[in-house]
Symmetry: D2
Subunit: 254 residues, 4 copies
């Protein structure tokens, strides 16, 4: 199974020398460990050698790679949070989901992977330059067919979509979206928001008290263990806070 | 969008009174907060009242619900871990994945949700009674078309499948599977294992040194925040350890 | 060095069979692993055998033991928090410290250990029955000479002591004590409070903004590692939240 | 209570502008926020103003300050760990303790604070240049009367002291000291070691199995909460691993 032109590959030469690049036969790529030339016929898992004799591998990008290696105009969502959020949303192939705050498109890519070819991500972003960067990142990942972008402010205008399975909210004032998101979701649909401060969480809980049940807030921490013969220990520094995840389920008035 | 007979619903009456049940019109269901009768025509998000006047809601199950509410014959994988593992595997709709150790089928369900109708989960379990329970749990979740179960020991026999995108290994001795998994994976395919002890991780790293690169070990922690007006604080007790996740990418010999 | 009558010993027969008891020659003590008789002449570190053949040891109690094994009328402070608090207070032998909220006397004991024979702990408790229990616990630990108890409400009356090195505040509304504690402390003296909720911390910070600098809030987590040959891993459940520690330094108006 | 010449003061101008300095009347001290002149008569808690108009305060150093601001020739122990270790050692004013591995003297200072004027710290360091730096740091903190330094390797020679209350072991191979420490401790005396890797912990446990009971391993984590009106959240990065603390109690053979 050869890699095709235009396909994304994860060029891996160690944790500090890894790149998400588009494959083209004969393409030259420079790293601080030397230059590689992508061969005309090559498969995932194949080794390459730089002109300075260092070994690289052409790996299949993970979803985390696709998300973490976007061109960033904003802080991006971390896989540790996104993975939890996906499972709490209950979405899968064919799901139709809302994203408010496209940001750099990292979560957009993760959602597009999850909903598959039959699903759809409706992604809203107020700032045009952010949206355009997010679109570019999604396109690079080859997922543009699964995402529809909107350059608008849904807090005032509401969403032009409805009956959605889940809504992912990553904006500074999520509580302003409780009403419009409620209208856009199907009954039982899931609210998933991520906020860095505890006050944002408190205001979000207040806003969700009407029309939503099963409110929950968690924090996800990721700790790397360095496994080295005779010297195994946790990494000495870590990202200790990204944000709090708030989840809830829409209920119908009756 | 009415709920159809045989569809799973999450009957929610608070965190300590929630049940994953199969919908049937007129079905009676008893809880410690009273009995509910499922109405003939009902939608996700609708409220119900028990004979003792307590309110319940018919919610759409999340993927976490499907996994956490299986009938357990083994310890099961937690959503905090499974979410991270999914994103590290880079799988999506259409992926073909290996699962070694079906266990109670909790991860099987999560994987089946992720690969969609066009994908396939090949799930191996040595103990017949575990496999049968896992099959039952997968069937109840309506995902049996996406999963093929095998009652065999792949450490000695190898896997009758190949060219897979990722392998999820949850057995006591993952290192014994490094060779057979390597053969079953496509180039660049991902190894994802979960083990409770640090010695298992060390032996797994040793075994993966040949044929795999990009070895990484992380631990994922989930901490709930109780958001209550004027009394917000982390929950006082938590599950502080489930297991260490080990990830790696298969490379081709050359 | 024989153990003297009336001295506290930590009778240790495993993590689930350990007792803080007063030594008396010939004393019989019943445990779920059988009965021991304390010999007439015995030293710390000596083994004993129960009538059912189980081994116990007479250990020297740690400060943590003295604190954790008090008779409890309230939730008590944990050593992980108390240790950090001590070092942040900068106290040592000869220090004079304030404690507001004697509680069960666990922190009182820790402070009395720290200030030594030349120091003094002034401990305030509004509820008489709590104070009496705390006094009893301090006396049992043989530290009553180092502690002076007051059954009063300092929020309204102020403290009848001054020029103290540090103040330890463990009451539900620490912010009400910012003024009276400021008056009782020496210049540069330390405020150390512990509160379970984030709102208490926020109100405490607000109250300390006047008259204090160097405000800091931390949370201390303790995680046990079970070290067993071939099966080393963190304990599966832990106390994930006791409280937030707030520290500050008194400054002089000028 | 004026500050005396030669006394340590914590010159505080914010978290990124704080210095542990020796007081001398008229001393000039330059910071990146300007220069201060220490007035001839001044008390802890007093404010100062730099020549550029920035405010500083003369605070009483905490024990943490004394430890964290030593001149470092080695990695130093953190207060979060040292506080826990102190309480587990059960030491107080008058205790006689062993320290193996003086390092930069940070823990030496903490121990000297704890044992008071009537206690003694016997501190062993193999490398002469480390010992001399540690001595300098202890002297600067005014605690040299309480500490006796030894430039020797106790693993081969044993300790020239005995009947000690506790031993603090911070060397790369703590297990080599199990025998000599056992001889130096009183019955029931406490072993406290700190090691960064899990393999060190495992070897230490093995070595302590003879002659010690009540073996325990914990990890202490410190997480700072940034309390800012409307924007309260944990700090985004933290020190996630310093070391594992191992504690045990010496028992007598019989």
């Amino acid at each position: 199974m050869s890699i095709k032109e235009g396909q994304l590959v994860y060029l891996y030469g160690g944790e500090r020398a890894s790149y998400l690049i588009l494959y083209a036969p004969g393409r030259r790529f420079s790293t601080h460990l030397g230059e590689v030339i992508l061969p005309p016929k090559v498969s995932f898992g194949d080794p390459l050698t730089t002109n300075t004799g260092r070994k690289f591998y052409l790996l299949k990008p993970t979803t985390s790679d696709l998300a973490m290696k976007v061109r960033r105009t904003t802080t991006i969502i971390y896989p540790k949070d996104a993975g939890y959020m996906l499972l709490e949303a209950g979405i899968g192939s064919g799901s139709r989901v809302l994203e408010v705050g496209s940001g750099s498109g990292a979560l957009t890519i993760i959602l597009a992977m999850a909903v598959g070819e039959d699903g759809k991500v409706y992604s809203f972003e107020r700032r045009k330059e952010f949206m355009e960067n997010a679109m570019e990142n999604v396109k690079r990942a080859g997922l543009e067919e699964r995402v529809e972008f909107f350059n608008m402010d849904p807090a005032s205008e509401g969403f032009p979509v409805e009956n959605l399975d889940a809504a992912f909210v990553d904006v500074p004032e999520p509580w302003t979206l409780a009403r419009p998101v409620h209208e856009a979701l199907m009954g039982g649909g899931r609210w998933i928001s991520l906020s860095p401060t505890i006050e944002q969480v408190q205001m979000t809980f207040d806003a969700l008290e009407e029309g939503f049940v099963r409110l929950k807030c968690v924090e996800i921490l990721e700790r790397e263990i360095l496994v080295r013969r005779g010297k195994t220990r946790p990494r000495e520094r870590m990202v200790s806070h990204t944000g709090y995840v708030v989840t809830a389920s829409k209920v119908n008035a009756k």
